[in-house]
Amino acid sequence: MKTIALYNIKGGVGKTATAVNLAYLCAQEGYSTLLWDLDPQGAASFYYRIKSKLKGGADRLVENKDSLTAAIKATDYPLLEMIPADFSLRNLDLLLEGRKKPTKRLRKLLEPLEQQYDYVFIDCAPSISLVSESVFLASDALLIPTIPTTLSLRTLQQIHRYFDDNALDTATLLPFFSMVDSRRQMHRIMVEHPPQKPVPFLQAHIPYLSEIERMGTERKPASAAGSSRSAKAYLALWHELKARLTG
């Protein structure tokens, strides 16, 4: 089982849209896939029409090793299942803090699912916290959607520095350009000449597209539209990610 977290300290960069679409494409390829909505906003759950409600809340979720299984719901798409969000996830930091080895908790929770799923995608809340640290340790890859601006690159450097300072594996950091507006010169230049430091960017990028925005209205992955521009962009990202994960 490979675990991929969609993470960035900044919000509104395309984490959820990417998580939703990559999970969909992964399942379409025949892989047993789980999408875990860890963001109390519950946007991923909303897109998949699953109520953002966990029985017993975040409290029960982190309680025992088998608690994730009870929370899983199937989406409308074959081979794709989900752990929906819950507003109580806003307190997840506190709940983890009260436990032994808090940064290892999420990984422990995922262990019983290893035989059930080929891929797990975690849609993270925008923050840097105990929950984030726990996600870092649970993940095989950290996909970092990055809008091609100077400030976003600065945020990437912060994440990289954090990993370095805490002896975490920086090779798991996989930034890619998201919400790329080809009308803007800065965006075009950055995508054409992506920075190689602190970590190289993936080659695939996701353009800014209204069809991705429309996911909120249509409540389904943009990639479900088959040969749309967004579907092709996410497919390219998925293939590049898969190649990186499988060596």
Binding site: E29, G30, S32, R49, I50, K51, I72, D76, P78, L79
Partner: protein
Amino acid sequence: MLTRFDIDPGTPMAILRHQLMSQLACEVVVQRQFPRQLLDTLDWRLYKNGYQLSAEPQGHALLLQLHRLNDDVLISQALCPQRPNFIHDIPSSKLHQLLQPQIEQRRLLTQLSLHVDHSELTVTNHHDKTLARLQLESCRITAPKQVRQAQAHLIFLPLRGYPKQARRIHALLEQQPGLSASHTAALTDYLNTLRIDIHHFDNQASVASSPDQRSDQALKQALLHQLSQMRHHHQPVIDDIDAECLHDYRVAIRRSRTLVKGLPGTLPKSHAQRHLRQLKRLGELTTPVRDIDVILLNLDHYRALLPHDQHPGLAPVEAYLQRERERHHRQLGRQLTSRQHQQWISAYQRFLSQPEHTRTPLPNAKQPIRSQLSQHLWKHYQSILGLGAEISPRSPDEALHTLRKRCKQLRYLIEFGQHLYPTEKIQRIIVLLKKLQDRLGKCQDLHLQITHLGQIEQTLTQQGQPPLATKHALTSLVKQLSAQQQQCRADFLACFEVFASARHRANVKELFNP
């Protein structure tokens, strides 16, 4: 929770659909007709493992889906540009990974074709979230033969995480007129309708029924089973389904030869010798094709052993082998379809089907099978110990080949009578014997490959063909395979030590010569 229901023949699908829509507040999301192929190997490997692989058109491609038979759960799927014949025709995917160890080198055959009238109903909540699916299908078998009467069923697919709704819908379905719970997979129903016996291609030795059964009776039963294996594989070999088919055919021949020779004095000598000669001839007829298959099946492995720039050097070798294979296969096909061969098969069948005489001059015919078999197994085992003890790192390949043949004979004889002995004890012996055979098999295969690759180079040279790249590639390969052969020899010697150990000898003696 049962997920499958048969729809009574007297209940039209449209009426059932209408009833369900009104009772469950569900809607039809899909309604279409299409052909569905159910794919499996000649020996039904997927079905025996509890799976069904189906292929349905989706756009310009085929959607392959692997379902679990007992609960219709979708395990994986993949889009394939065209109908796959072998595993390498399926794009690299989860489905490919799941199928590879099951089907290996076997061809995927269209075992059944169906015309499907399919509708899917979804039960949703107020967010339009699907809570359950109901698939109604009327399937008419169109191949291997047309069946006029369609079989209709309903598959209930509750989505995970909505147990209350699932229970409610299931309760309603159980009470629904026109529906009855089904305890068998649809594919099992189709097989029953067509009276297809999937065990035709089970390549297991038959077993004697009881320890006191007459030896000649037990032997003939086993030989009849092997003959039926040969008959079932006869046409697939001629049609060249896949390399495994020919291999299984040859195994049936070898088992037959071992059984006839392995219990002397049990069958009339002149008949036994006549049929042995024919079996030997049949084995020899199939050898050239099999030898070429072994090399062709190893080509990817050879490429992996060579540096990338030497890969093109193997292309003339592959082309030559394909031509030779075709030639030998045509020859084999002619022999198998000849009147002479058919006459022998009929004569052999008649001989094996003759009832045993109450009074027989044959010294061992009426002996209880277990005691006779045990004697021969013990003798075989002793001879293997003797042959194996003489093998050293410098022994000629022929010595290992002889030992390998003897081990195979022992194994076939054991498998013939394995139910006559305590299961755990006989399995221990079989497991060790298999390990020894594996090592010997690898050594022998490497020896054959090295020999054949050398012969291929000579032949191509005589034909004025091989480019320098091919010579280099073959030289490089032979060198590497020879190194592997040395390692293999060392592995075998270590394995034989365990096989010949005092402890194992005591186990074998306890069973066969107490």
